[in-house]
């Protein structure tokens, strides 16, 4: 029986799961929660295809193929399965958007998953199965994927609601800067250290902010995000995540 080193969506991040059991789990229709993340089964046909491709070791060393087909080593699953063909992630599952994100930022995250500096039961084993060359190739492919347009809503706009107020005004009585001061107008992302917030699934943003708040995520430079997240309230976390998850769609509404 072929052995599949597939962490995938079901959270079985230990290796050596028989393929049959993978199939069984795939066909379970219910939601599974892992570490506060809601995991849902994805398109079964697509996943089945990905698994088969991985098992058959169809590996071409081009950057696009790593995204679509995975890396050469077992367990280096295709990104497309969770992050989507357009790199926009899967909002209901909290899988983040990757398209257009700085290659340096993505590379740092993958290396941090490898070393354990960033914790994720799904991503850690997967990142460990990638070689440095594969990380360089795949992050270049991802950064080249078109990012969705972000309206340049900056600090001169008048905010409405808790989320937008935090984004555009901060809460300086608690030393919380405006989100857009570092993440750019509309949360578009700035350089290689400040990732885009715009069009990230609210679930993902909430999960990350909470991970910083409880100290389980701490791979940011100089604790820049950690100390801010720790000063935020639960309501602010939800509101600001909601704001940035839809900021790209707001202006097209009539």
């Amino acid at each position: 029986m072929p052995v599949c080193r597939v962490p995938l969506l079901i959270g079985c991040d230990s290796v050596g799961i028989p393929l049959r059991s993978i199939r069984l789990i795939f066909f379970r229709p219910k939601l599974i929660t892992i570490m506060g993340w809601v995991m849902i089964p994805l398109n079964r046909a697509l996943l089945g295809g990905v698994v088969l491709l991985t098992l058959n070791s169809v590996q071409a060393q081009t950057s696009a193929n790593i995204y679509l087909q995975g890396g050469a080593q077992p367990g280096a699953l295709a990104c497309v399965a969770c992050h989507g063909a357009d790199g926009m992630g899967l909002a209901p599952a909290g899988f983040p958007r990757l398209a257009g994100i700085s290659a340096d930022y993505l590379s740092k995250q993958l290396h941090d998953f490898q070393s354990g500096k960033r914790v994720s039961p799904v991503m850690q084993p997967l990142a460990k199965a990638l070689t440095d060359d594969e990380i360089a190739l795949v992050t270049q492919a991802i950064t080249a994927m078109p990012a969705p347009p972000v309206p340049p809503i900056n600090r001169s706009s008048m905010p409405e609601g808790v989320g937008e107020t935090l984004a555009l005004r901060g809460a300086w009585d608690r030393q919380i800067p405006e989100c857009v001061s570092c993440h750019g107008p509309g949360g578009a992302g700035v350089g290689s250290a400040f990732p885009p917030l715009a069009n990230q699934p609210a679930l993902y943003l909430v999960a990350q902010l909470n991970a910083w708040r409880d100290g389980s995520r701490k791979n940011d430079p100089n604790d820049l995000m950690g100390h801010i997240a720790k000063a935020m309230s639960e309501d602010e976390v939800k509101a600001v995540a909601e704001y940035f998850s839809t900021v790209g769609h707001k202006e097209v509404a009539p």
Binding site: P152, R155, P185, A193, H227
Partner: protein, 308 residues
């Protein structure tokens, strides 16, 4: 600019550079403020945005606010670099120890040695445009820009006493460490704490055409006539405001070291340049203006020649 870089790098290897001592100035060019410890004092509380009236006055306040936080885009003809007012006045000009507008507005008109006359608040704002924003001829005193910014500052000062030095005004003085400052240590602080936002060469960071993190030196930053070019002023700003969201996390020595590192880099020329001479300009405007590097020679390179 480029030719300055190796010289600056070289200077970091050498011993601390002792420059002019702080000069006491009883005027509004350099505000003398006693140091504050931590966040103890109760500061003046400016009104809330939600309290703004829905009328022409409220609309003008909002216009001034927009100019204050988005200056480069809202008043491009008067901004010759990549800065916005709020880069040096955090929290929209509201925050104590970040030169809040409510600490400044009620102190004008005031004498300023900088131009040796009594200045109105409008003239003070024009000075910001001319020096900090490197904007050439500033907007007229009755222009839309100066009016809206004045209205915004007035509104933030609602119920503040007139002519009273409020706690939290300006950037509270951070005394120069007894050992002076050191450019090599400053370079290290910059690399560890500042470069992630402001870039390895102080160039800031943009999204599209707009700066998100302001440039700290070079042609897109404040010019040699701006108050921030003083090492003592920059050290006080940095200590109380930087890194963003981590105020007071640097030691006094680190703040001075990194301020000196930043302010020994080249930037746009002082618009008051006297007869094309850095030395004449130094004697007239910089020799008596706190601790600054303008017109000094560092490792054989003259500082203050300006960027193109």
């Amino acid at each position: 600019m480029k030719s300055m870089m190796p010289a600056c790098a070289l200077s970091m290897l050498l011993s601390p550079v002792a420059l002019a001592a702080t000069i006491a100035m009883d005027d509004q060019s350099q505000i003398k403020i006693p140091p504050v410890s931590g966040h103890g004092p109760e500061y003046f509380q400016p009104p809330l945005e939600s309290e703004l009236p829905d009328n022409a006055y409220g609309k003008m306040v909002k216009d001034g606010y927009a100019l204050f936080v988005d200056t480069k885009r809202q008043a491009p003809q008067f901004v010759g670099n990549g800065l916005n007012c709020t880069n040096c006045h955090l929290d929209q000009g509201r925050m104590a120890n970040s030169a809040p507008l409510w600490g400044a507005y009620p102190m004008y008109p005031a004498y300023r040695k900088k131009n040796d006359k009594v200045n109105t608040f409008a003239e003070r704002l024009q000075g910001c445009f001319q020096f900090s924003m490197n904007g050439g001829t500033p907007p007229a005193a009755d222009s839309r820009e100066i009016t809206a910014l004045s209205v915004y500052a007035y509104w933030l000062s609602t119920k503040a006493p007139v002519g009273v030095e409020l706690p939290g005004r300006g950037y509270p003085d951070v005394a120069q460490p007894t050992g002076g400052y050191d450019l090599a240590r400053g370079a290290a602080v910059y690399k560890d704490q500042c470069a992630i936002c402001h870039g390895d060469n102080g160039q800031g960071q943009k999204v599209g055409a707009d700066y998100v993190m302001p440039p700290l030196w070079g042609k897109e930053s404040y010019n040699w006539g701006a108050g921030m070019h003083r090492i003592n002023t920059a050290a006080s700003f940095i200590k109380h405001n930087m890194p963003l969201g981590k105020a007071n996390s640097l030691s006094d020595e680190q703040a001075w070291d990194v301020a000196a590192y930043i302010n020994t880099h080249e930037r746009p020329q002082d618009p008051r340049l006297v007869e094309g001479s850095v030395e004449k300009t130094r004697l007239k405007y910089h020799a008596n203006d706190g601790v600054n590097a303008y017109g000094q020679t560092l490792n054989g390179v003259l500082i203050g020649v300006g960027t193109q």
